[in-house]
């Protein structure tokens, strides 16, 4: 080992703290880049797996391929694998299902490979193994009250669907009915073929490509032996090169000429998550987001690494001069610097990669545990080869670039210049001129701090930029959270006063009340309210024309419920609305807010053009039969005073977003004697336990809103983890930067400090000077960082604002946190170096540097 090499290693060991901070800087940067790409990979692959699971492992499907032409597809060189399915035909569902829309079976035949690769998700039982066995959907089993079960036989008469005009109907045709949905027009024509199947398994509902949501049939799947493949089979293929899917599919479909082209579809979900798309879509959005994030990371990382190296070389300036003076060539010095970079990289990059792998692994696990269940998919950790490669290359390039420049500079040092003084700090009189007020206001200490800031502009710029990046990212991301949750909160069920809504299936009020009374005795109820209601119709004169235009006449239903809630909750509500209890009993509160999408924007409006305080005319409806036919003039007319309009206020007993009139129980009983008891709203201590209790009761139904609440919370937690994790790491990089710059700067100036002390600066004055410097420093970062952050947050607001009517709010809390944080970090770092300097002996410091 050469002397120079030994020197490098010894140097790294001696400057342990500097070495460690540099290693941490490189490590964080590498880890962050790898982790970002790694997470992207894991999520993309998980989503792809999920897409494959639910829609099948293929890229495209060609329909109705005649037997003799099949080999032109299956033997195409571009194709990796294929499977074949066939539609045997429809059959009428013999047992009556509650949902009368679904009236057919669609019998599909799958070959061996199709059964495992075409997205069949088995719930129970097994796959069919011969052509007499069949799989049905869980819906069919559930709808029929388990009348279709594994082991049952189905006897089916195969046939086709024909429209009233005699055309054959296919998979994509909805049920043909009369305008009012009363009568079915399409005809089922049996082909004469009859089949006997044994149900061997139950599967989940197939993807919407096989069974559209409007389909009047339920798909069931049977086995297709190879020798039974006839004409008109559907061939699904997987290409060797997924990126060429669109071109190859087009090419294959037209191999018989333009007019004889095959019908085909592409597997959108799978292609999307494979990163193949015809137009901009989620995958591209994901890549753009990852790209921006990585961009920010690379930007801050380059700064950290560059800064560390510059500092390290500045510190060893004299040493390089010494080496040069005893005959080291500039080549040797350059190599020496690069070698140091190499050692640091060799330690830091693998550590960073390991760290990132661990982080990604934990994050994926966390996401799986938190939202896997709700999202109904499996998040799996995939080893991110690409991410590691990219991270390593980027780090190496950054390290090389950030060391080659100082290395060149070090190589150019003239020995005597380096030994005698610090040429790193070249001072220009003009550049460090300070305005008179600085000295007047901050005394000589302030003047020195101010001038020093101007002197080491480059170093400070680096640090200021890294603080600025942290501040800006923090502000922007916290705004995203604010806006994103700001409007999800409107739709989710947080703090609405109830978490379970019970509906009775009884008809008579007394019986319902009896049931509800029984429920109210179950333990664990925090509060409950029994809703009473009747229907009224509001006069046409209060119609909101604009809204009617938007929804179409038929949608603007003027019949709304009048809902009574218990006095206790009613009084709470009117208090929130600012009406006295007495006044509140003279009329009703109107809830009719509407949020609708118009001109690319969510707008809020009201269903009725009623003013607060107005007395309106309305008509009583008969609850038993809301006869549309009864002309409105014949209905009983009444007058109601509208006291206030309900805004965002919530109360137990009123469903969120329900359009209604809210009144007291007394008011309802007086005005609408034919009211009925409706739902029971319950705030349960433990909603899930409570639901189990309800399960044991008969003739009731219920909704547990806690599920949706838990889901929102889980998603929110995941987002918080990611966003704050990202902020934390970016900030950590920033802190490393700040620490590096400030400590070095202070050490370089220790001789100056000793000087100031020797001419009589007291410790207190000295500390004040440094404090002032920190303030200048923090202020500068904030002056640049805050506006950029605010601008970003405003841009995001604009982005969200296009789809939502929200007012821009300056994120004061975040600004406060940012300001506090910046000053704390700067002060702590300054304090750290101050302690170091204050420990030094004046004379030794002055002398040391002179030798």
């Amino acid at each position: 080992m050469s002397v120079l090499k030994k020197l490098t290693i010894r140097n790294l060991k001696l400057n342990r703290k500097r070495t460690i901070t540099t290693i941490i800087g490189i490590m964080l940067s590498t880890a962050l880049i790898c982790a970002t790409f790694g997470l992207g990979t894991s999520f993309q692959k998980s989503l792809l797996q999920d897409a494959i699971k639910s829609s099948g492992d293929y890229h495209a499907t060609f329909y109705h391929i005649p037997k003799e032409e099949q080999k032109y597809i299956t033997e195409n060189r571009q194709i990796d694998s294929y499977f074949i399915t066939q539609d045997l035909g429809y059959a009428e569902i013999e047992k009556e299902l509650p949902d009368s829309y679904n009236r057919y079976w669609l019998i599909k035949q799958y070959d061996e490979k199709a059964l495992t690769n075409n997205g069949v998700q088995l719930v129970e039982g097994r796959l069919p193994e011969n052509e007499n066995e069949i799989l049905i959907q869980d819906r069919a089993a559930d709808y029929s009250n388990q009348e279709y079960q594994i082991g049952d036989m189905m006897h089916l008469k195969i046939g086709e669907r024909y429209s009233s005009t005699g055309e054959k109907l296919g998979v994509t045709n909805p049920l043909e009915t009369t305008e009012d949905d009363e009568q079915v027009l399409e005809k089922f024509v049996p082909t004469g073929e009859e089949k006997e199947y044994k149900i061997v398994g139950i599967m989940k509902r197939p993807s919407s490509e096989l069974e559209p949501y409007y389909a009047p049939f339920l798909v069931c799947i049977t086995y297709l032996p190879e020798d039974k493949i006839v004409g008109n089979a559907d061939i699904s293929v997987k290409y060797k090169d997924v990126t060429k899917t669109y071109e190859i599919t087009e090419e294959i479909s037209k191999q018989n000429g333009e007019e004889n082209s095959y019908e085909y579809i592409t597997n959108g979900d799978v292609l999307r998550w494979s990163g193949v798309s015809k137009s901009a879509n989620i995958a591209t959005t994901l890549y753009v987001v990852v790209g921006i994030v990585v961009g920010i990371i690379i930007f801050s990382s380059v700064f950290v690494i560059r800064n560390s190296f510059r500092i390290m070389i500045t510190e060893k300036y004299r040493q390089y001069g010494m080496l040069a003076s005893i005959g080291a060539t500039s080549k040797q010095i350059k190599r020496n610097v690069l070698q140091e970079a190499f050692y640091l990289g060799a330690i830091a990059i693998p550590l960073g990669i390991l760290g990132s792998l661990l982080a990604v692994f934990i994050l994926v696990l966390l996401v799986q545990n938190l939202i896997g269940e709700y999202a109904n998919m499996e998040f799996t950790f995939y080893f991110p080869w690409m991410a590691i490669l990219i991270g390593t290359i980027l780090s190496i390039v950054t390290i090389y670039l950030s060391s080659i420049i100082p290395a060149r500079k070090a190589a150019k040092i003239s020995p005597i210049e380096a030994i005698r003084s610090n040429t790193e700090i070249k001072i220009n009189r003009k550049k460090i001129q300070a305005p008179k007020w600085v000295k007047k206001l901050f005394k000589i200490g302030g003047l020195i701090s101010y001038k020093n800031l101007k002197r080491s502009k480059k170093q400070y710029r680096t640090t200021v930029i890294s603080i600025v990046v942290s501040i800006a990212i923090f502000l922007a991301l916290t705004s995203i959270i604010q806006y994103a949750f700001g409007f999800t909160d409107i739709y989710y069920y947080e703090n609405i006063g109830y978490n379970i809504v019970v509906r009775s299936e009884e008809e008579e009020n007394e019986k319902i009340l009896q049931q509800y009374n029984e429920i109210s005795k179950i333990e664990g109820i925090e509060q409950y309210s029994i809703q009473k209601m009747a229907y009224i119709t509001i006069g046409k004169e209060y119609d909101n024309k604009e809204l009617a235009e938007y929804y179409g006449e038929s949608q603007s239903d003027r019949t709304i419920p009048m809902i009574a809630i218990e006095d206790k909750y009613y009084d709470e509500l009117v208090q929130k609305l600012g009406i006295s209890k007495e006044e509140a009993r003279t009329g009703a509160i109107l809830a009719d807010n509407v949020s609708y999408y118009k001109d690319n924007k969510y707008t809020t409006s009201n269903q009725f053009t009623i003013k607060e305080g107005e007395t309106i005319k309305c008509y009583q409806e008969n609850l038993e039969e809301r006869e549309e036919e009864t002309p409105i003039e014949n209905k009983k007319q009444m007058e109601i005073k509208i006291l206030k309009r309900l805004g965002e206020e919530q109360t137990i007993g009123i469903g969120r977003g329900t359009h209604c009139l809210i009144v007291t129980e007394e008011f309802l009983q007086n005005h609408m004697p034919n009211y009925r008891i409706s739902n029971m709203y319950i705030q349960a201590e433990n909603p899930d336990e409570f639901s189990k209790e309800l399960d044991t009761m008969e003739k009731i139904g219920y909704t547990n809103y806690n599920e949706s609440l838990k889901e929102t919370r889980a998603i929110r937690t995941v987002i918080y983890i990611f966003v704050y994790g990202f902020i934390a790491v970016i900030t950590l990089i920033g802190v490393t930067n700040i620490f590096n710059t400030i400590t070095t700067n202070m050490l370089l100036r220790s001789k100056e400090f000793a000087m100031l002390k020797s001419v009589g600066m007291t410790a207190k004055e000295f500390n004040n000077m440094i404090r002032l410097e920190s303030i200048f420093y923090g202020l500068k970062s904030l002056i640049i960082g805050l506006p950029i952050g605010l601008l970003l947050s405003y841009a995001l607001y604009k982005g969200f604002g296009t789809s939502m009517e929200i007012t821009y709010q300056i994120p004061w809390a975040s600004i406060g946190i940012a300001v506090l944080f910046v000053f704390i970090i700067v002060f702590i770092t300054m304090k750290y170096s101050l302690n170091k300097i204050n420990k030094q002996n004046i004379i030794e410091t002055i002398r040391n540097d002179n030798i």
Partner: protein, 226 residues
């Protein structure tokens, strides 16, 4: 009038076998207006002695009285304040603050003390030092001799009780050295300034009223020039 009294001053570095007595039981007095040269070979302890007198280092034992005040009885902060008012230090390598210009460097002790700078006095001083035209320059724009003149200006601005110079010409050519010496002499005569200079330059020593010779931390000779 006695301006400086050193009593049984000791400075010991290290312990046991490695013990070095840089200043070994030194006692002497200096009268106001004296120009004293302390000479001795390298490592004789003369610089340590000077720093102890200047209050920038602390002795192992012994006392230093400046203008009747026992300076090592003072707290660190009070000592710092005492330094800027009563002691002017001049170093071999000038040790100016690189970001402050000539004028600012000279007035630094006043500024630290938050005293008003007497403009006339400053003007006179700059003229005496020959830096009138360079008062806005930064140290790195000056020659070595000019920088040392700035540091003399800084040492003298507050009319300290004593001015201490540690090898003030050690880094200068002979012409600049002569200038510095004559400036020190001038301040001694013009302002009746007490000056203590450490040197191993015979020529400077001969300019002094009194020469103290130090060897191994002890005064071995103390003589007055004719």
């Amino acid at each position: 009038m006695e301006i400086l009294r050193v009593e049984n001053l000791n400075k010991v570095y290290g312990k046991g076998e490695n013990e070095v007595r840089a200043v070994d039981n030194v006692s002497f007095q200096v009268e106001k207006g004296e120009f004293v040269a302390i000479i001795g070979s390298s490592g004789s302890g003369k610089s340590t002695l000077l720093h102890l007198i200047g209050g920038v280092d602390r002795p192992t034992s012994g006392k230093v009285y400046i203008d009747g005040k026992d300076i090592y009885q003072l707290s660190n902060d009070n000592l710092a304040i005492f330094r800027r008012r009563q002691i002017g230090l001049i170093y071999q390598f000038y040790n100016l603050i690189p970001i402050l210009n000539v004028e600012e460097n000279i007035t630094l002790p006043c500024d630290l003390d938050e005293q008003k700078v007497n403009a006339e006095k400053l003007q006179d001083l700059l003229k005496t030092l020959g830096l009138e035209k360079r008062k806005k320059h930064l140290p790195n724009e000056l020659s070595g001799g000019q920088q040392q003149r700035v540091s003399i200006g800084r040492a003298i601005i507050n009319s300290p009780a004593i001015m201490l110079a540690d090898e003030p010409t050690g880094n200068l050519d002979s012409k600049a050295s002569e200038e510095i010496i004559s400036l020190l002499k001038l301040s001694n005569k013009k302002y009746n300034q007490t000056v203590i200079v450490i040197t191993h330059d015979e020529k400077i020593a001969l300019e002094a009223d009194r020469i103290i010779t130090i060897e191994d931390g002890k005064i071995i000779k103390d003589e007055r020039n004719g």
